[in-house]
């Protein structure tokens, strides 16, 4: 089991979700984050210039069986890509164990539904 964490543009979320859905990823969790990076916004508030080096991003986090990892990365990279600065990153982590609260399933078994 691996955890895949992707920091993407808010506007690309729907595409990424759809892309993942197509390759069989039905579960994921996401939330709004702010990113500090190279993409910088210049703003003026009441005459004072300030650059918010922080911009809004969406963090997507989901746990998948090992065999899905590669296709997920490919899918995210395709769907989150614009080519402009600020497209974001994908990170992969090890997961020790997983449990599904409703069914009590654990391990890989907790990650997919009965067919």
């Amino acid at each position: 089991m691996k955890k895949i964490e992707a920091i993407i543009r808010k506007t690309k979320f729907e595409d990424v979700k759809k892309g993942l859905h197509e390759i069989g990823i039905d579960y994921l969790t996401f939330w709004d984050v702010r990113g500090v990076g190279k993409s910088v916004e210049k703003r003026v508030y009441r005459g004072v210039k300030y650059d918010t080096s922080s911009i809004e991003r969406t963090m997507i986090s989901f746990i998948v069986r090992d065999k899905f990892v590669d296709s997920c990365i490919v899918s995210i990279r395709e769907n989150a890509f614009t080519g402009e600065i600020g497209d974001g990153r994908v990170f992969i982590y090890e997961v020790l164990d997983a449990y599904r609260i409703r069914t009590g399933d654990s391990g890989d078994r907790s990650l997919y539904d009965e067919e």
């Binding site: 003026v44 508030y45 009441r46 005459g47 210039k49 300030y50």
Partner: protein, 413 residues
């Protein structure tokens, strides 16, 4: 016989009706001005941070609550009691015979007093001890505002000179703003505002801020046109129509000018300054709304809008006085500007209309006298409060938010 009688009856009915219309006008105007309180509350809340929202709302609520009672008990008499030496009014228990009070006039004046107090809360927002602010608010509406108000509207020395401040550019707005200036300077800037350079601390909700400005614009029709204190008879009718128009045109002029200047200066049209621009136009026209032409009103609005942008920058970057909502500029600088411009644009006595420099001189004198009074008394008052109960909240309270520490309640969940 009968005919004459009925003529008298009719006569008195007519007089009564036209008086009633005047009172209705004053009362409805008072309601509109009262409605400016949520205007201020929304604007100030919107222009400050979410962690201090309950605090700023509380202050605005209390300004009106405290002001209504203290102006009723003391302030009104100091302002409109029989004149003592052109400087102050007599308190009722000093008067020979207890005076008849016109309650509609009292109501109208009450909401004005509250307005003056409320202006201060914006300038000292996000760092001031709540209980100190309460004291301050009481003294302002009971004593400071009524005394300078007496000079102009209560038969005091400035009115005798011919000083013209129709609805209170100086009497109401500048007084509040100059006190705010002193307060903001003595209390010092918010943590993080100036470290080397001036930093922006954006307001948390510009929708509330915009709503507040719209409400203020709406209420201002009562503020200015209500100050005519009468509506019946063709003179009054013409006057209030005129005032509606000049008030609106100046606000529009201020809006457009602030937009244009901020656009050119900062490359983008910014909402926060445009909103302030509308207020700048409104404050500036307040002194002369009855006595300048509609065309002049547009010009006054534009001048106010231009002044606004530079004044905000100047106070922030040069004076380094931290005024979170721009109250000092909007009400103080533009109030003074508007009062002076009466000396230029007044169709009766203004420089442009062949009146020479006399009126302009008197206006300048009034602006200075009122500013001196407000700055002086506020200085004493704030210093006193500073030494006694303390002006500023501890750093941790300011950083984590006044709402939680001072009020034990957050505005948002």
């Amino acid at each position: 016989m009968e005919e004459t009688l009925s003529l008298n009856t009719i006569q008195s009915t007519v007089t009564a009706t036209s008086h009633s219309l005047d009172v209705v006008w004053v009362l409805l105007s008072a309601a509109l001005v009262m409605f400016m309180q949520p205007g201020f509350a929304m604007a100030e809340a919107g222009f400050t941070r979410a962690k201090n929202t309950a605090n700023i709302l509380m202050k605005n609520m209390l300004d009106f609550g405290v002001g209504s009672i203290s102006f009723f008990l003391i302030g009104y008499a100091l302002m409109f009691g029989s004149d003592i030496g052109g400087f102050i009014g007599k308190l009722p228990f000093l008067e020979e015979s207890s005076p008849e009070i016109d309650y509609s006039f009292l109501m109208f004046q009450t909401v004005f007093a509250a307005t003056a107090a409320t202006i201060v809360s914006g300038a000292v927002a996000e760092r001031t001890e709540f209980k100190t602010y309460l004291f301050f608010s009481i003294i302002t509406t009971a004593i400071i505002y009524p005394i300078s108000g007496h000079w102009v509207w209560g038969g005091g020395w400035l009115s005798n000179l011919g000083f013209h401040d129709f609805a209170g550019s100086s009497v109401v707005h500048s007084v509040g703003a100059w006190m705010g200036l002193v307060g903001a300077a003595i209390i010092g800037p918010r943590i993080g505002k100036y470290n080397g350079k001036a930093n922006a601390i954006p307001g948390h909700n510009l929708t509330f801020a915009a709503l507040g400005v719209f409400i203020l614009w709406f209420g201002w029709f009562g503020f200015n046109a209500g100050s005519q204190l009468a509506a019946s008879g063709s003179d009054n009718t013409l006057a209030i129509s005129h005032i509606f128009l000049t008030t609106n045109l100046s606000a529009a002029g201020g809006t457009l000018a602030a937009l244009a200047v901020s656009w050119m200066r900062y490359k983008r049209p910014t909402l926060s300054l445009t909103l302030n621009g509308a207020l700048a136009g409104l404050v500036a026209i307040t002194a002369g709304c009855d006595i300048v032409t509609p065309q002049a009103a547009i010009v006054i609005g534009i001048l106010a809008g231009i002044t606004l942008v530079f004044s905000v920058e100047f106070i922030d970057k040069v004076l380094r006085i931290d005024d979170p909502v721009g109250a000092i500029t909007v009400h103080g600088v533009n109030g003074a500007l508007g009062t002076l411009l009466v000396g230029i644009f007044a169709t009766d006595g203004g420089l442009l209309y062949g009146g020479g420099f006399k009126l302009l001189g008197i206006q300048a004198l009034g602006v200075i006298a009122i500013a001196a009074w407000a700055l002086g008394t506020a200085y004493i008052l704030f210093k006193l409060l500073d030494k006694t109960i303390g002006l500023r909240v501890p750093a941790i309270v300011e950083e984590e938010g006044l709402d939680i520490y001072e009020h034990g309640e957050k505005a948002y969940h």
